[in-house]
């Protein structure tokens, strides 16, 4: 019973995390290059973190998947940042 409850709470946590991330970037926004700049910093940090975890051998598939999404995202954000700074 308790195990079932923690499963439900995790789904709620996932949903809230998704909503939180989008709106958190949205309110720290409005001046030249701030949204794209912060996305560049965060995606670069995630890439570094993924590389370290891959090197340490933790959860390889999960971190490889994350790199597949974050590397193009970083590239696109950098390109957009040149025009938005």
């Amino acid at each position: 019973m308790l195990l079932y409850l923690t499963g439900v709470i995790y789904y709620i946590y996932m949903g809230m995390l998704a909503v939180f991330c989008t709106n958190a970037i949205n309110i720290l926004a409005g001046i030249n290059g701030l949204e794209v700049g912060q996305s560049v910093v965060i995606s670069a940090s995630i890439l570094i973190f993924n590389s370290i975890e891959l090197y340490l051998g933790h959860q390889c598939n999960a971190h490889k998947f994350s790199i597949y999404l974050m590397a193009p995202f970083l590239a696109v954000s950098l390109a957009l940042w040149q025009y938005n700074r």
Binding site: L28, E35, S66
Partner: protein, 188 residues
């Protein structure tokens, strides 16, 4: 083999982005769409990659900004439509945008929050001695305005650079918290 191809293609994109010459400021503007796209990408990567707590560590400035904004977001303190800093074309700098209210007209929680923030010097506080109603002018509760309260009016490019260096410092702090401290707590 396919992983190598995928990674090198991504790296090519990265290098190409770097090869684009620095252009004039802001030829392109992003709106809510980019924020939602970026936010969802980070959330997806964090959830499916099983590192959502580390992801939240990288989001420290955003979390701080959200907590600071809560009084206005939840209506405890009056919230204007736009809370961005005001542009002063004479000095070419950004200044704080403000909101006015009468302290006694707020509800209990609002009054408590306003007094605590004022005591901790988290907001700017201006009263007009000639005003009978004692309206108070405070800065809008966002991190951008708070930087302008701390450092005075500044040029937009300078403000962006300050905020992005805060983001970098918080990322470094996140790595420090994640690695040595996590080992200490989880002990594996």
């Amino acid at each position: 083999m396919s992983t190598i191809i995928a990674l090198s293609l991504s790296l090519c994109g990265l290098i190409y982005a770097f090869f684009i010459v620095f252009r004039y400021p802001a030829q392109v503007f992003v709106g809510d769409t980019f924020c939602y796209f970026a936010g969802m990408t980070f959330a997806v990567v964090g959830i499916l990659g099983h590192f959502s707590k580390t992801l939240l560590l990288f989001f420290l400035p955003q979390i701080v900004n959200f907590l600071y904004s809560v009084p206005q977001l939840f209506g405890l303190v009056p919230c204007p439509r736009h809370r961005l800093p005001k542009y002063n074309s004479n000095t070419d700098r950004l200044q704080i945008s403000t909101t006015k209210f009468v302290v006694s007209e707020l509800n209990v929680v609002g009054r408590l929050i306003v007094h605590v923030f004022h005591f901790m010097r988290l907001i700017s506080w201006k009263t007009d001695p000639k005003d009978q109603q004692k309206t108070v002018t405070v800065n809008n509760f966002t991190l951008i305005n708070y930087f302008l309260v701390l450092f005075g009016p500044m040029h937009e490019g300078q403000l962006t650079r300050h905020l992005l260096s805060l983001q970098l410092c918080c990322s470094t702090l996140a790595f420090i918290i994640r690695y040595p401290l996590a080992n200490y707590f989880y002990d594996s």
